[in-house]
């Protein structure tokens, strides 16, 4: 069975799995890292969004064999550590605005939000309501308005 080595939430790990198995399943089923959620497995719902080398990625669409030993995978569980705090400012904002309902989409929403803030800054465009129209993450509980408020606040802390 092929072995794969990469960095996961700050630690280098090695796991055995066929190359084509998507990272989502390697994390959830083999490594018990369950923050990233399954909502489609088709790169549509964005519930599995995690960061690979700082970029928001649908890990349901990444064969584990595509990862290199230096690739850094950060899931919701490792987000706060990237800023050396108990909670990332985006998570704080999520609490402040009482965003979560069932909560199933929220790890993916938060990971996507952080990436959108970075991206909007790189592009030099304002992170306003028009910009946020392009966020693809589905929330079947319909928490969209609070997500927008939380992103605006969370961005200020980033």
């Amino acid at each position: 069975m092929p072995e794969h080595t990469f960095k996961l939430n700050g630690k280098r790990i090695t796991v055995e799995a066929p190359d084509h198995v998507r990272l989502l399943w390697v994390l959830r089923d083999l490594l018990s890292v369950t923050g990233p959620k399954y909502g489609c497995g088709l790169a549509v719902c964005q519930a599995c969004t995690s960061h690979i080398n700082g970029k928001a990625t649908n890990i349901c669409a990444v064969p584990v064999g595509d990862l290199n030993p230096d690739d850094e995978v950060v899931t919701i569980e490792g987000l706060a550590d990237t800023v050396g705090k108990d909670l990332h400012p985006m998570q704080e904002a999520w609490l402040e605005h009482d965003v979560a309902q069932c909560g199933y989409c929220q790890p993916g929403q938060i990971m996507a939000a952080v990436a959108h803030v970075r991206k909007s800054r790189e592009e030099g465009v304002p992170l306003d309501d028009d910009y946020m129209d392009n966020i693809k993450n589905i929330c079947r509980c319909g928490t969209y308005q609070r997500i927008r408020e939380a992103i605006k606040d969370g961005a200020e802390g980033m």
């Binding site: 923050g35 489609c40 706060a80 909560g103």
Partner: protein, 788 residues
Amino acid sequence: MTSHRASPEPRQSEAPDSAQPSRRKILGYLIAAPTLAVGTRILGDVVAPATASAEGLPSNPWMADHYDFLDAMKDFTRHTANLIKVEIHDDGHVYHASPVSENGQGILTTLAMVIAEELDVPIEKVHVWCDDARVEHQYNQLTGGSTNLHVKTEPLKIACAIAREQMMTTAAQQWGVPREELTASDGVVNGKNGQRIEYGALSKLAAVDTDTPVTDPYLKPASEYKVIGKPQRRLDAYEAVTGTKVFTGDLQVKDALPTMVHRGPNIKASVISVENMDEVRNMSGVTDVGVIPSGVAVRAATFGQCIDAVRALKVKWKDGPVADESDDTVIQKLKAAVPPLPPRTAGAKTIEYDFINYFASNTPLETGIAVADVRKDGAEIWAPAKIPIIAMQDIALRTGLPQDKVTFHVMPGGGSFGRRLFHEHAMDAAEASYLFGKPVKLMWHRTDDFRHGRQHPPAVSRVRLTYSGDKVLSFSQHHTGVQNDLGHGLGEIASASMARQELGQYTVGAWFYAVTQSSHYEFGPSESTYHELEIPFWTTSMRHVYSPNVATARELAVDQLGHAMGLDPVDVRLKFLRPEFHGVVHKAAELGNWGRPLPDGVAQGIAINDEYKQRMAVLTEIDTRPETVNRKVKDPPYEGYVTGPRVTKIVLVLEGAHIYNPLGIKAQLMSGANDGIAIALTMSTHLKDGIPLEGSWDNSYYTRQWNTPHDMQIHLMPNTYEPDRNPGGAGEVAVGPAMASVACAYAQATGKVPTEFPIQHQKELPFHPHAIVPPIPQSPTEGLDWAY
């Protein structure tokens, strides 16, 4: 039913001095236990007589005007309310295993508020979770119909009041002082002379060794509430934002390996034979393959390998019972089944429409999932479930185990929207575990959840208003749908309730309709009836059940009445609505800036609805100009991101008797508004040859960020403290009026009354359906390329 008062009480704007339920005999129990434990039981009935007065001809009362589903549930659950139990442990924390299930609606947080309030304990010390399935709970363990707060609050308050009183009496005895000198606050009993003792220290002293009944415990007056009525954040929020909230799929049960099912090419198809079972069993990671009633189950090391195996299976199928049905055949049958409307009065003018509503899936973001460990001598199941007792009993029946050998743990659900009323997910897991003799974590693929999961049944709503001059002469609505499966059990409630009603005999579906629809308007002789056609699809009560379709049909017709009478949508409502609705209509019009000048193609609409003991008005502004309708979403990795008409503003106004958690109810209204927008404009499934074409979120369009309004205002009117409406349900209430309001705005903006919903449905399919065989699509591999 006896009335507990002769005439309606005046609406109050001040919190009443006492929340003591009037003229009821209340019994609670101190339960024998090592630390303090209390349960409750309530006897007595409450039904208020109907009231009516408005400008139009008074309508005859409808059943739900004076006895609705919440009343029925309250009556029906009375005799098992004594299983509502609250315990105080010696750590000073309060524990309550709730028969209610949490699927995102925030009910456990609100129940914790009730406990914190009545017990005078900090909410951080209150722990509420979903109880395992327990037969003794009976219908108290049914989460649905937005009934829980209304039904569960009083027993819970009573239990807490008894516990507080018992601790104060115990402290008084300890200190040898009169009980009247003591006060309780923040989990501490305080004496007049500075004595203090924590609840934790009292919990053993206050415990009893035989069950002891208590009559008429003193309940805190609402005017003294410090927790109820204040915004309270969700108690599980920290877990949700850190990824540590444990859903069923996150459970680590030893050897419960990922398991998935290969399902048929049409709904309820059954397996004839599997051609390559051995070959698939030898695939990488696969441990077991076998036939269960819903298809061919595959157990493997990862879900990725389950998907590979499901796709590799070659299976012969016998068609299911609806293999010949498609959208057109179903709608034709429905149209033919609508009973004729009553004969028209000679000389009357008529407004008459058939409104068609297509199938819509209520799949939550968490697909069907359960962990099951079925053995010869017992079974343990973990799954989200709104009626877990029935799930547990079905599993016992199927596995031949006695009921008390099946433990069913109710997990927090990743959404429900009516899906978790049924338990196919738990049954599949139990079947697979039983067959393989091993624990499984069985999950439905997203595509299965759309195609083989339950749906909102399609319906044709026929409405007729007759009028003459400025008088409405009659209103009729004949709502005809594919049978909505209520097989999860409402039958007993219906029969128990019907026995107490004098409004004639109903089928269970018609009863459920009757206890959810109220008349709202003074339209003279009026009726709203429900008819259903038995076609064996998988159906269920999607969030707000019939009402979104019913309200949309009614409200669109009311707008046309206004048009005919030269009245704008607000004025026609103020003319004919019962007076109790005027407040919410005025407020919505004011906040939404009703009548402000708008460009062609942009317009406002307004709609009302009263259900779950809450009145609502919703105002919508919609933009239907081509440049908006044809807007694009940036960087879509895939086809299928539909845009279409854009709701630019939505104002939701709710008037309830007593809002317990304003933050929570606003969350539910926001959520309901996004559902209403979806079912009015974009979200449905297309049935073709017995199966929906939709297989994921890029085919069936729940509201997304690009379709949700930037401007959403939610306004809560002051509490009315109407005793019989206190407190109302929140989870579903906004969906119906939001859908209706969007439809009304769309009609105003386009000048055409839409008659098919969602509006997107009859347009050319904006996606290429996933293949039917194999039944689920493979995951893409371009994730790294699409990263941002």
